[in-house]
Every structure is written in C-alpha cells, then in structure tokens.
C-alpha cells in the first residue's frame, strides 16, 4: 500500500512563517517598466514614422486669413490652467491618426513652468515658456510651445468662423481676444447674442465655441460679449441655398402611447452641388394644434420625436424660417395592442387562505399581463368588489393595490380602465 507524502503541522507552521517573512522582504522591491516593450510593438504595428502633440483645438487661437490660409497664434495660458494634450502619429504611408495619450513618456522642457501627467494633462505652474513633447517606442515627437503668462483681456480681436452660413445649418464660431500682454488668446466665458433673434439663434456653446443657426436669408450679426464690457459684432451672410427638407420616415406610423423618432435632412444647392445635411434639431417641428392624434417635440435632444396620443391621422411639418422651406408628411397613429383590453397578473380564480391577510393584485393593459403597461395604481383605474363584499375589501395605494381577506367565501373583483374592464375571482378558504 503506497502512502502519499505527509507533512506534519510544525513544519507547515514553520514554512508559513518563513514564507511570510520572505514575502515581506521582497514586497516593495518591484521595479521595471513594461511600457517600452508595448510601445515598441505599437510603433511596429502602426508603422509609425513621426509624432506630434497637440493642445485642445478650441484652445488654440487660429483664423483663416484673406488668402484662405489658416493662421495659428502662439498658445498662451494663465498660471494654474490645465490643458489635455493629444497625440497624432503619421505612418510610413503618410496617413495621420490619433494615438492614445494614456501612460506615455511626456517631456516638458521646463518643469518649473508646467507639469505633465502620464496621461497628457498639462498644468501650468509658473510664468515662463515650456515645450511639450512625447516619446513613443523610441520615436520623439515635435515639440509644442506653451507660454504661461497671466494677463487680462484688452479687446476682442475678432470673431472667427465661416463668413457665410446656410439656412438651418449650424456653423461654429470662436472669439479671439487681444490681451494686455500683447498675446492673442481664445476667449471662453463669452456671452453670444444675435442681432435679430427672429432670423437666427445660437446653441451648443461648448467651452469657447458656439454654433450659429441662421433661419432667414440675408445678413445677421453675431455678437460676442465678454465680462459685460467688451463687445464685437461679426456680420454673417446667410445664403438661400436650402432647396428642400426631407423628413424620414416619409410616412411616420406610431402606436398610441408610444413614440417615434423622425429626422430632417436639408437639401442644399451649393456651388451647383446638391448636398444633404442633418438639420433635425435646427428646424421647427409642428403639428396642427389640437389634432388629438399626436404631438411632436422641439427640445434640443428630442427634436422630431412624435408621440402617439389617440388613433387617427395628422400632419407633421418641419420648417426652416417663417417664409422658408417647409416639408410635410402624413402621420398615422394606430391602435396599440398593448393598450387594448385589461389583463390581471394572476390567473382567475385565486385561491387564498384567510390567514394570508392581504394579497396584492396587479393589472395591465393588453391581452396578457405586462408590467411595462401596468395600470394598477393609475388615477383612471377604478377597483371594486362586485360580489362578496364581506369576503374581501380593496385597498388602492399609490404604488400597489391589495385586497384584505375578511372571511371565508368567494368574491369577484372588477377593475376598470378607460373603455376596458376585467374581473377576477378570489376564493378565500
């Protein structure tokens, strides 16, 4: 008979003590960087040739000059400001792509002026100049110069963006400020207004960029106000290029109690080209008042969302401008089988012991119970004991409906909701 090796308890105790001691000795002694191995493979797989680092685009003061050439101002930031840098790579074929900035070897030429996290977040520490770069798998990027200098705005230098706009198509604009230290910086905290709110509106102000949506053709002034003191207007010509609006789907069909998203595409004739752009959130959505069948939303995030109210039909329109382009489609609101009839959660009859005391009942619209369409506690739902009132009583609360078991016998409970009713038999034993 063979025996397995046996280790006695004192030895185990000793081994555990020694292991613990050794573990304590080696803990905290870890070092080494695996990142160069990963980056080396990343460089090879992406055939990376060159690297560049970039601050957020909306922090860089730039504009297109009269010759159509983009002009970029040096980047100035205040002390304490943070900028999230990103990395762009170019492969051997000359294709440009964005690379992750996470856990990289970022380089700051002047650590007293700015610090850089491993994930590319720059924090300016003191006034001065710092150059920012990154190294990936042995490839060094070009450097980006950041000037750290506290200053205040002197005047608004300009509002930059497309000098012309198309109707109901959002165009981004940015304001640049001339600061007391002579620098030109992108302005945030700008309050934007338009000269004629009937003809245009602004939306989606993100950091220092605003979207202008012109509704009427002609000319509109976009005005930037900073600190309530500085103000500058920029004239934008609104072209009459919108030829048609297309609503999708072309024949919306929605169930009662449900919603359907519709979208608007603007068809533009620009330089003899027919171009289509999504303008769902820039048009005015309408339905005939008191149509009773459906309604439509104009809220920014739900623009074009049709809600079915009652069976019937109506017209959905999307309009750009008071006397502008309008599209109309018929909307049909059809019956919702989930809303027809009433069904109890429980099968009838329900047999209960008198000792149970109370019992919850639930009912939904539809041919079978569906918690999504539960109407048990709705105001329009009424409950009654049609027979056996000495057997059970109904308690309708705000979040549940229960019956109280009063005595042995049979009872019938009826529930009514709209044009529908249903009954259930309760047998108490």
């Amino acid at each position: 008979m063979s025996r397995l090796p046996v280790v006695d308890l004192p030895v185990i105790n000793l081994l555990l003590r020694c292991s613990l001691l050794a573990a304590l000795v080696v803990m905290g002694a870890c070092s080494g960087d695996a990142r160069p191995f990963e980056e080396s493979i990343e460089v090879s797989q992406q055939e990376l040739a060159t690297l560049s680092v970039h601050p957020p685009a909306n922090e860089v003061a730039s504009f297109v000059d009269d010759a159509g050439e983009p002009q970029v101002f040096p980047l100035f930031v205040d002390v304490g400001q943070q900028l999230q840098f990103s990395i762009r790579g170019v492969n051997a074929a000359g294709e440009q792509f964005t690379m992750s900035g996470i856990d990289r070897t970022w380089v700051v030429s002047n650590p007293e002026v700015a610090s850089m996290s491993a994930n590319g977040l720059l924090t300016s520490l003191s006034e001065g100049v710092a150059s920012i770069g990154v190294s990936i798998g042995g490839i060094d990027s070009t450097f980006y110069t950041v000037n750290v200098r506290n200053s205040s705005i002197d005047t608004i230098a300009g509002i930059y963006g497309d000098p012309s706009a198309e109707r109901c198509l959002a165009e981004p604009y940015t304001a640049l400020g001339l600061f007391l230290d002579g620098s030109t910086r992108v302005l945030d905290n700008v309050e934007w207004t338009v000269s004629d709110p009937e003809s245009a509106f602004t939306k989606n102000q993100v950091a220092n960029t605003i979207d202008l949506v012109a509704i009427e053709t002609g000319s509109i002034d976009l005005i930037a106000n900073v600190d309530g003191a500085q103000s500058l207007a920029r004239s934008v010509v609104v072209n009459d290029s919108l030829t048609k609006i297309e609503i999708t789907p072309s024949e919306p069909r929605v169930r009662v109690g449900e919603t359907l998203s519709t979208t608007a595409l603007g068809v533009y004739s620009i330089n003899s080209n027919e171009l289509r752009f999504a303008i769902t959130s820039n048009v005015v959505w309408q339905m005939p008042e008191n149509n009773g069948a459906a309604s439509v939303s104009n809220a920014t995030t739900t623009a074009g969302l049709v809600s079915g109210i009652n069976e019937g039909s109506t017209i959905l329109s999307a309009q750009c401008g008071m006397n502008g382009v309008v599209a109309q489609v018929p909307v049909e609101v059809v019956a919702n089988p989930n809303l027809q009839g009433l069904a109890f959660q429980q099968s009838s009859p329900v047999s209960l012991s008198l000792a149970t005391g109370t019992y919850e009942l639930a009912v939904s619209t539809g041919s079978s119970y569906n918690s999504t369409y539960d109407v048990s506690t709705k105001t329009a739902t009424t409950w009654e004991v049609t027979s056996g009132t000495n057997v059970v009583s109904i308690n309708k609360g705000s979040d549940e409906v229960t019956i109280s078991l009063l005595s042995v016998g049979d009872a019938t409970v009826q529930v009514n909701y709209g044009n529908y009713s249903a009954t259930i038999t309760i047998s108490v034993k």
């Binding site: 090796p5 870890c30 695996a34």
Partner: protein, 174 residues
C-alpha cells in the same frame, strides 16, 4: 554568463561542507505575455544553496537565456536573471518531497522588433519577487542526486512577468 561561471566556482568551493550545500542546474521554458502576444523563450538556470535548518535552505540563483522566441516579427528573450531565495521543502516520503521557493529576483528582458528595414531593441531590467513550486525525487541509486520539476514565477508588478516550467538536477555535496 559571468553569473554562471561565478556560481560554478562557488559551488565547487562549497563542496567541502558535508550534506549542507547543494547545487542545481535547470532547463526551463518561460512564458511572457504582453501586447496580446505570447512568447516562450528558453533559459538555463543554476543555483547554489545552503540548508540552514532541516528542509530550509537559502540559495542564490542565476539564469541565462538560451534561445529567444519569435512571433509577429517580435523577438523576446529573458536574457538573464539572478536573485536569492528561501527554499522550504517538505520531509521526503518515498524519496519524494515538495518544495516552495520565495525570494527576490532581478531579471533582464530583451525585445527586438524588426521588419527588415531596421531593428528596434528594448532592454529593461525588472526587479521583484520569485515564487516557485515543485516536486523533487531523490535517486535511489545516486542518493546525492535529485531530479525536480518546477513552476517558477517572476513578478515585478508590471505587464512583463515571467512564468516558467523547468526540469532540474540537484546535487547534494558530500
């Protein structure tokens, strides 16, 4: 290789101490995984140790890479390793015993990535813990010799950890 030479000399010098000193040679295949690539380089390892108590020993060890492993134009090798460890082993039953080693290791990993137009070489030294588990069998015909199978793990708390399986021969000096 200098580690190997030094250890052989050390082992030779220790042979005068009866039954307390031991030396070991191991051949192993390591497993390293990073960047969704698996590498299996091979290595040789020598150890020299001293039992300070029954079944408790302290040893130094050194590894040298034997062959790198290539995949997807990437070559990786555990170039060298060295460290100290505490050996804890169970009493032998029918000449078989289990052992655990725990200690400190410093290991050098080399990776080259080449696509034919140039090779990018990365070398990095890692330091961390070594943990080994194994079984050893004392040979009846040669009581001073043991053969062992061992799972070894080098952990530096980075993506580059090394797991290996090895076979070894151990000599207890008389």
């Amino acid at each position: 290789m200098r580690w190997l030479l030094a250890l052989f000399i050390l082992m030779g010098s220790m042979s005068a101490e009866a039954n307390r000193f031991y030396g070991e040679f191991q051949f192993g295949v390591a497993g390293v995984r990073h960047s969704e690539l698996n590498f299996y380089p091979s290595f040789g390892s020598v150890s020299a140790g001293l039992f300070v108590q029954k079944d408790i020993g302290i040893e130094i060890f050194a590894d040298a890479g034997i062959a790198h492993y290539s995949t997807s134009d990437v070559n990786l090798e555990v170039k060298e390793a060295a460290g100290v460890a505490l050996r804890l082993q169970s009493p032998a039953t029918r000449n078989v015993s289990a052992f655990v080693l725990i200690g400190f290791v410093s290991y050098l990993v080399e990776q080259s990535v080449g696509d034919g137009q140039g090779v990018q070489l990365v070398q990095e030294r890692f330091e961390g813990a070594r943990v080994s588990l194994g079984l050893q069998q004392r040979l009846v015909r040669y009581p001073g010799l043991l053969v062992a199978a061992e799972y070894r793990h080098y952990n530096s708390d980075t993506q580059i950890s090394v797991d290996s399986l090895g076979l070894s021969v151990r000599v207890h000096f008389k």
